[in-house]
């Protein structure tokens, strides 16, 4: 199953490589990994998307907890409803007919065109992975110049924080 795991870590040099190294050393899969400091700049927060059986996910959370710099691990997928968002920038060809069509498509997906040339758009868009994938499919590979995605961010719904 796909799991979204939140990790709160000491914001130390090398923190990211400890997590990445753990995943490669133990042959766990990483679908995406994002990291940035939080409101407390001594902490950084990662959101990690992985897949595995229940046993593997259990080991992943235990092994993450075992890292000395890790303050808190939360398997969001196991803890009630969550919000998942990913951010994407996508550069597409925009010439002739395509200009209007792509603009309409962006509107439908509530995406914003944030850069325009006479032959291209850069479109920004946020949503869950499925929505971003759907947009990419709708534009069509032949019209895409490049895509950059942030990887998923996740947070539990409701009043409770991670700590």
């Amino acid at each position: 199953m796909r799991h979204i795991i939140s990790i709160l870590m000491e914001n130390e040099a090398g923190a990211l490589s400890r997590v990445a190294g753990l995943f490669s050393a133990r042959a766990y899969n990483i679908e995406s990994l994002t990291v940035a400091p939080t409101e407390d700049d001594s902490l950084s927060r990662m959101t990690l998307v992985t897949r595995g059986s229940d046993e593997i996910i259990e080991q992943i959370t235990k092994q993450l907890n075992k890292l000395i710099d890790v303050v808190k691990v939360l398997d969001l997928s196991d803890n009630g409803p969550i919000i998942e968002r990913e951010y994407m920038l996508i550069k597409v060809k925009a010439e002739g007919n395509l200009r209007e069509e792509t603009k309409r498509l962006a509107d439908i997906f509530r995406a914003n065109i944030i850069d325009v040339t006479d032959c291209s758009y850069v479109i920004e868009m946020a949503g869950n992975a499925d929505k971003l994938n759907a947009f990419i499919d709708s534009v069509g590979n032949e019209h895409i110049v490049e895509v950059v995605r942030s990887g998923a961010l996740g947070m539990a719904r409701g009043a409770k924080g991670i700590l």
Partner: protein, 570 residues
């Protein structure tokens, strides 16, 4: 007090109670070596290879329970130390390794003797640090010892750039008395509800078995374990790492389990209905084929490391905590019970039947020295009371099988990583800790050559260990596998061009002996051990064709052991 970084390193070691540091100098640690030179409280032992420093520190830690300390330079010093760090990591041994690093401004420039030590060691340490500034140095060393020795112990590397140890830059020094880390709070007490559930399960068991590992040794829980096992008259088996935590000469002890475990221990594992695993991690050399492991058992698992629980084998009642404290709680709850009797006499009868097969029997009439006989003789001559270190191979298994350890921390070997070259430097570390104890390294002619340079260290520091070389002329364990699984094609396992070990030893200033006849062995060994202040290297020529039995081959379960060359699988 105002101290330089180099002085802080040494002073922090003192404040941590460290008496011995095993190390090797080089450019990046010269400031530290200069500070070592100017004091007398911390003794530095100059090894002959950095691998030796880490193994010696490791042996010291295994024998004493205190953290071992090694000090090496940057680049090749650090890479040479990696094998020893990984060895300690796999067996959860508390150790602090201080590595020099190129000065901070040079980091990342491919400077002379620069390697990314933190990067290289990351997967084989409990934690590591690159010290970023002088003001964090003392605190970082404190953290290193705290992390190495608490929770599930392990090696910690502290990488110190040379500019931080500059003798001309001094700051006010204070060694933190305590340290707390929001991200690191190892669990110590076990969950009482789980403990009670476990006891209920044990009291209903018909065929219980206790299986314990290195965790009991690490936690110094041998007394509590022995009390519990004897209170309930339970059968007990130890892993390779757990030997000695329960007295091997006691009748409730079934011997070691696993790939080269005894028939009775492995059969009991296969038939048990309640398995009580304590400080053990269900290693593949212990479990045999995992699908066939303990098919009828409910499993209780006590371990300090939550990640060990249900990693390889699903358990029914996990108890996370320090083994000693958990066992104390077990005893307390049991003592409150009126009826503590467990009727398992039928189970014991079955076990005794398995025992009567005498799975460790070997040819005692042989004209050539059998390795088993050599280890038994060693046991006799040392009254079963020596510290025995070993390397890796058949000799290691024979030592584990034929030297019954009655005390914890007496059996010192690289179980997890299986590091050839471990034995001699580890013995040095033990001897440094316990100068009056008998310390012997049981080794093979291949293994001993991997760290034989440490004979010089033994000379320089008067560390009169005994080396018992079971010389079979082969990488015996490799040869055994080639005999079994490769139709006897002995590819590169014959150890040709052996040195004359007697002369070699003598050239280091020690005593060498060669023994070839079974009848000469005991006398020679007695003579060797009577030379209290000399290193004696005994080159014991043993049967080159002997194999280690019983053996569970790949894919087989505990009940499918091969007992002898001509026996079918049982």
């Amino acid at each position: 007090m105002e101290l330089s970084g180099a002085e802080i390193v040494v002073q922090a070691l003192k404040d941590e109670g460290v008496k011995h540091v095993f190390g090797y100098p080089g450019g990046a640690v010269l400031h530290i070596y200069d500070a070592i030179f100017q004091q007398e409280d911390v003794q530095h032992i100059l090894v002959r290879h950095e691998q030796g420093a880490t193994h010696a520190a490791d042996g010291y830690a295994r024998a004493t329970g205190k953290p071992g300390v090694a000090l090496v330079t940057s680049g090749p010093g650090a890479t040479n130390a990696v094998t020893g760090i990984a060895t300690a990591f796999m067996d959860s041994i508390p150790m602090v390794v201080i590595t020099g690093q190129v000065p901070k401004p040079f980091i990342g420039s491919d400077a002379f003797q620069e390697v990314d030590t933190v990067g290289i060691t990351r997967p084989c340490v409990k934690h590591n640090f690159l010290v970023e500034s002088l003001d964090t140095l003392a605190e970082t060393i404190k953290k290193a010892f705290y992390i190495a020795t608490t929770g599930r112990p392990g090696p910690v590397v502290v990488d110190i750039p040379k500019d931080i140890t500059d003798p001309n830059i001094k700051i006010d020094y204070q060694y933190p008395e305590k340290i707390s880390m929001r991200s690191y709070n190892p669990v110590v007490k076990g969950h009482l509800g789980q403990i009670k559930r476990a006891i209920d399960l044990i009291m209903k068991a018909e065929r219980p078995v206790v299986y314990t590992g290195g965790g009991v040794v690490q936690a110094d829980a041998e007394k509590e374990l022995t009390q519990l096992v004897q209170m309930l008259n339970l059968p007990i088996t130890n892993t390779l790492m757990g030997l000695g935590a329960y007295p091997a000469s006691d009748k409730q002890f079934l011997g070691m389990l696993g790939m080269h475990g005894t028939y009775e221990a492995n059969m009991a594992m296969h038939e048990t209905d309640v398995l009580i695993a304590i400080g053990a991690r269900f290693d593949d050399r212990v479990t045999g084929h995992i699908e066939k492991f303990c098919p009828n058992a409910k499993i209780i698992h006590i371990d300090i490391d939550p990640a060990s629980i249900s990693k390889n084998v699903r358990v029914d009642i996990p108890i996370v905590g320090n083994v000693k404290l958990v066992l104390k709680d077990f005893l307390r709850v049991l003592n409150e019970k009126a009826d503590k009797s467990l009727d398992i006499s039928g189970w014991w009868q079955q076990i005794d039947k398995w025992r009567s097969i005498d799975c460790l029997k070997y040819d005692t009439q042989s004209e050539i020295i059998k390795p088993q006989f050599a280890v038994e003789t060693l046991h006799k001559v040392t009254n079963g009371d020596a510290y025995i270190t070993s390397d890796v191979g058949q000799h290691q298994m024979f030592a584990a099988q034929f030297y019954p350890f009655d005390k914890s921390r007496r059996w010192i070997n690289s179980g997890g990583l299986g590091t050839m070259g471990f034995g001699l430097p580890a013995a040095m570390g033990v001897k440094m800790a316990f100068p009056d104890a008998e310390v012997a390294c049981v080794t093979g002619e291949a293994s001993i050559q991997m760290c034989i340079q440490e004979l010089a260290t033994c000379k320089q520091y008067d560390l009169p260990v005994k080396v018992i070389l079971l010389n079979n002329g082969y990488m015996g364990m490799v040869r055994q596998w080639q005999e079994f699984f490769y139709d006897g094609r002995y590819s590169n396992s014959y150890v040709d061009a052996l040195p004359d070990f007697v002369k070699l030893t003598e050239s280091f200033g020690h005593v060498g002996m060669k023994v070839e006849k079974p009848g000469d062995l005991e006398g020679a060994m007695k003579e060797a051990f009577s030379m209290k202040d000399r290193v004696v290297f005994m080159d014991v020529i043993v049967d080159p064709t002997e194999n280690v039995y019983p053996m569970i081959q790949a894919g087989k379960g505990h009940h499918e052991m091969q007992l002898s060359p001509d026996s079918e699988m049982i």
